[in-house]
Symmetry: C3
Subunit: 138 residues, 3 copies
Amino acid sequence: MVHTETFTLTAKGFCDIHDITAKVADVVGRSVIASGTVTVFCSGSTCAITTIEYESGVLHDLRRAIEELVPQDREYEHDKMWGDGNGFSHVRSALLKPSLAIPLIGKRLALGRWQQVIFLDFDNRERRRDIIVQVVGE
Amino acid sequence: MVHTETFTLTAKGFCDIHDITAKVADVVGRSVIASGTVTVFCSGSTCAITTIEYESGVLHDLRRAIEELVPQDREYEHDKMWGDGNGFSHVRSALLKPSLAIPLIGKRLALGRWQQVIFLDFDNRERRRDIIVQVVGE
Amino acid sequence: MVHTETFTLTAKGFCDIHDITAKVADVVGRSVIASGTVTVFCSGSTCAITTIEYESGVLHDLRRAIEELVPQDREYEHDKMWGDGNGFSHVRSALLKPSLAIPLIGKRLALGRWQQVIFLDFDNRERRRDIIVQVVGE
């Protein structure tokens, strides 16, 4: 069986990070599937999905790491060609990826106690974002 | 239901990037599965799968980022031990990973308009590469 | 059909890397599912799953890359707030991610010959770790 839902959020870009664990759990709760795999996916080329302990300190640390690994303030060929100014956003998204698969066991997401599912918006402006949650199982 | 196909491409290595979105969509089109999860996987320890807006500017930017994060021209223990000269390729592949899960909804991959599926070949020579596309759903 | 098992290992932290390919294959062997997708997931916010050629040279190279990308010996806001001393571990885990999907074809994991599944423990102390292996298919 397959259960798929999409929810929407407003993200500010510039490494805006949202805890979407409760939203993902809500979709799981509305499904009749008890065990299977939950795929969380963002349709967009300037965002990503991963997990983290959602507390302000480590979110700051993650943002700093991403800024150092793929700096915003330098020249990008994407910006020269298209003038979007978000070349850094695309590179960050390609490296962190828009997808995450989480096992569902007995109707519960197999996350650790300090492990939340996060959506990262790397773009350079506020945007509405669609997040897809898909459960495949029985 | 499960539908699995493998297709092959020739990649040049050194961060050669291929847009495989149409190939993945072809597999989906030949399957009877309308909704479920599509896993794209490369069997190899010097390659990766991710998404990006497939245009030459941002591909250049991604290549530069990968070169800076895991430089080719330095010493690698792998090369000292095995003489392959592709230690950098293995590290890049381990960091970017060979797998991506994409929701399939109403026979369509849930990709954004500017979001293509790419295969990255990090090796240091031309190779034939197998890409596996697997659809699990109903 | 869905088949899920959890196994446990003891990891030392500080980028301790375990080859878990045989353990994952064992779970697949105990399942009746012949084709489908295998999700390998670690429940924890200071660890990750990926693939690599499991040999000591490239493991050294990967550890060096991770240390350079997200250094241990610097200040982290997480540590200032919580005193855990493992801010670097959380950031590494968020970047490398705790999940990997591998196609299963004819009862075999679709891994390349030199491609092993690894668990990486980024924490700063020895811990028991649960690894979940979930097969969804037919």
